[in-house]
């Protein structure tokens, strides 16, 4: 049994790229769920509220709870132990079990030392190892061990080892465990030995099924073993170039068969890939890495296109091409690797027997346009929620999935009513609105218009000075005042003498043209 204490914090800090000795805590619903040693020494405890924890330790790093991240970060640990002894079971992130490979390494202590060394080499410094007959005893043994140390309970010695432990070790079982601990303490039972000495039926009567299982575990009679995981199939595919290639065209030409092999080995597992990470290595180091998402799933041609765009973007002097990726490819590439990030069962993506041909054609045509003007110059419009017209839509690069969209079905108070504008300016041009005396029209703190708009002009050559024939507003908004928003602004619908209507925004620093109802 290998135990890495406070794994959620370790994983969180690693993701936030903070040093591992920073006091930190993982919060869930504003309650400290896990905290690490440095935080504990400042007095932070599990179950504290956020501000109590911060009061005790102001420099506390607060991390959001994310079980996926913890599991992801634990994966290399599993793989390392798996290298030494197959049949590893991840009980939860931070805790893994493996049959002690004692006879191979001589003694169990030797085995523990080997595992410990291997894990320290991959950067896991806080780990403890327990060896025992059953899972529960092994976990408790690991908890009593020191940092990078091990505790070996001899064969048949589980009962004797557990008898001395205080009952609060059961708190590790969660809410149910905490309840039983509090009850046992009130009953005057302070060690697991006291509990184990009670008659089994009586414990089951009083404490229910969980109590009975605790009683069995405390006697070292728990038969529960673990189901070892099967190592996940190797789905990556890579191609090496010898000698290294420095032309994007040559590389894209050479990766085609690899792309096909990559997809066919996924297809053998009845999978299709919808998110892929493409890595290019130059001189043994990854020099360009990017994750691509596909609205449906990748085909060989899509993958080759992605490789092209990714490498092209790094080549100097590519002009109008994609400007998205900063990982420049200036050195010759000697290896390209496809790593599946999101795979889905192929059944969910089956194509209809008929139809779909026209869409295929469109995909191909659009890919050609992307080849001309760059990957992110071709867009797909999607709607999202927001208060002003530009926020209510998003232009997603063609072939990518829309992420982080605001929900459309919320009320969005403060949005301008009326028909949606036909023209929405992504970069709003400046505008001017003046009253009869030629003074700029403004809006007071209370949302009152200082004077009647009389004439207006739209910048960037959209419209010269023109009288206002009708106007409506203001619709005041004060968005993001908590994070440096523009301040109190107001929107106006203004109809010019030519019968065209515009949506103008009066921000504290002047007028801008947001949209047109052309």
């Amino acid at each position: 049994m290998v135990w890495c204490p406070d794994w959620a914090v370790v994983a969180g800090l690693a993701e936030a790229e903070k040093p591992p000795r920073t006091p930190a805590a993982v919060l869930s619903a504003n309650i400290v769920e896990v905290c690490n040693g440095p935080a504990r020494s400042e007095g932070v405890r599990r179950g504290h509220r956020r501000r109590d924890a911060q009061a005790r330790c102001p420099e506390l790093e607060l991390l959001a709870a994310n079980p996926d991240r913890d599991a992801r970060a634990f994966e290399p640990v599993l793989a390392t132990v798996e290298d030494l002894r197959p049949g590893v079971a991840a009980l939860r992130p931070g805790l893994l079990a493996v049959r002690a490979p004692g006879s191979w390494f001589g003694t169990e202590a030797n085995a523990a030392a080997t595992v410990c060394q291997a894990l320290v080499e991959i950067g896991v410094w806080d780990l403890r190892i327990g060896v025992a007959d059953d899972l529960f005893t092994a976990e408790q043994a690991a908890r009593t061990a020191d940092v990078q140390g091990w505790e070996v309970v001899p064969v048949g010695g589980s009962g004797a080892f557990l008898r001395t432990l205080p009952v609060h070790v059961l708190e590790g079982d969660g809410a149910q465990g905490r309840e039983v601990v509090s009850l046992l303490q009130r009953l005057g039972l302070t060690t697991l030995g006291d509990l184990a000495a009670l008659p089994g039926e009586a414990v089951e009567h009083r404490l229910g099924r969980y109590g009975a299982s605790v009683w069995r575990r405390a006697r070292g009679e728990d038969p529960a073993l673990f189901a070892a995981r099967t190592p996940p199939p190797e789905l990556e595919a890579e191609v090496a170039f010898e000698p290294p290639l420095d032309s994007v065209e040559a590389i894209t030409f050479s990766v085609r068969t690899t792309a096909e092999r990559f997809l066919s080995q996924l297809a053998r597992h009845q999978l299709v890939v919808t998110g892929v990470r493409i890595e290019a290595e130059s001189d043994g180091a990854v020099c360009s890495r990017r994750t691509w998402l596909h609205p449906r799933h990748f085909g060989p041609r899509d993958l080759v296109d992605r490789v092209h765009w990714q490498l092209q973007s790094g080549v100097a002097g590519s002009g109008v091409r994609s400007r998205k990726d900063s990982g420049a490819v200036r050195a010759p590439i000697d290896r390209v690797r496809f790593v599946p990030e999101v795979v889905e069962p192929a059944a969910a993506h089956g194509e209809a027997l008929w139809g779909g041909a026209a869409d295929d054609l469109v995909e191909r045509g659009v890919a050609r346009v992307q080849g001309m003007v760059g990957f992110d110059a071709v867009r797909r419009p999607v709607l999202q929620g927001g208060r002003h017209p530009a926020a209510r839509q998003a232009l997603v690069p063609w072939g990518e999935r829309a992420v982080d969209l605001r929900p459309v079905d919320r009320p969005w108070p403060g949005r301008v009513p009326g028909p949606a504008p036909v023209r929405v300016f992504a970069a709003p041009p400046l505008a001017e609105v003046v009253d009869e005396g030629g003074r700029s029209v403004a809006v007071t703190e209370r949302g009152v218009v200082t004077s009647e708009p009389c004439r207006f002009r739209l910048g960037a050559g959209v419209l010269p000075w023109q009288p206002v024939s009708a106007w409506a507003g203001p619709w005041p908004v004060d968005e993001s005042w908590w994070s440096g928003g523009a301040g109190l602004s107001a929107r106006f619908q203004v109809v010019g003498a030519d019968g065209r209507a515009w949506l103008l925004l009066r921000a504290p620093d002047g007028w801008t043209l947001e949209a047109g109802y052309d």
Binding site: P295, V366, R380, R401, P421, G516
Partner: protein
């Protein structure tokens, strides 16, 4: 994820109109199929069908974003793919209200100097392409696109100047109902639209936005035509 992107479903062919003779209608359909793709009709919004019937292979000129959207909306609604080139100020919400199916819409907001190649590539695969030419267009460039259009049975809607168009649709006069001196909000737009086709007398109609409906058949053009 699949619901978002939605593989577009092709609508069933429009049912026959029970009021008319079935044989006649079928004959029309067969005739439409036998014709070269160049003259096949492209679906338009009901409000515009009488005024500006779109023919595949033709170029139409408009002078406002609203009209360009309205011309593209009909085809998109009927299950075709549409594209917008050179329109960085595309209003997605207005488009979707008008009936443009956003999942079948391709945008090239800023094609830059490649606008002609981009438009030609879009014309290859889309049914209606709206283009806002960034510069003045000479007859040669227009000719390249014209021939491409005819072979591909697509419609080009140009928002701006174009050397040769099948019809030019423009807004002569428009007014908004709704706002009164600060009160109210924009409600409806009434516009008099004029369609000019070569040497033929211009045709006028009163349209309302949003939703592009014909208000009344205008007889003014008859009067004007007769002097």
């Amino acid at each position: 994820m699949f619901e978002d992107d939605g593989v577009p479903v092709r609508p069933a062919p429009t049912p026959l109109d029970p009021a008319r003779s079935v044989v006649d209608q079928l004959r029309e359909r067969v005739a439409a199929m036998e014709r070269k793709p160049a003259r096949a009709e492209v679906a338009t919004l009901p409000g515009l069908a009488e005024l500006v019937p779109l023919h595949a292979g033709a170029t139409y000129g408009v002078d406002s974003a609203g009209l360009a959207l309205a011309l593209a909306a009909g085809a998109s609604q009927a299950g075709e793919w549409v594209g917008f080139a050179g329109c960085p100020d595309f209003g997605a919400e207005a488009a979707s209200e008008l009936g443009v199916e956003l999942s079948r819409t391709v945008l090239v907001p800023d094609p830059g100097e490649h606008w002609l190649e981009v438009t030609a590539a879009l014309v290859d695969v889309l049914r209606v392409v709206v283009l806002r030419p960034p510069a003045t267009v000479d007859a040669r460039a227009a000719g390249i696109l014209d021939s491409r259009l005819r072979t591909r049975a697509a419609v080009l809607v140009v928002w701006g100047d174009w050397p040769r168009v099948e019809a030019r649709v423009s807004i002569e006069e428009s007014r908004w109902t709704g706002p009164v001196a600060g009160g109210g909000r924009l409600h409806e737009r009434h516009a008099r639209v004029v369609v000019r086709r070569g040497a033929r007398p211009p045709q006028r109609a009163e349209l309302t936005w949003p939703g592009v409906r014909v208000v009344t058949p205008v007889l003014a053009d008859l009067r004007e035509a007769s002097g």
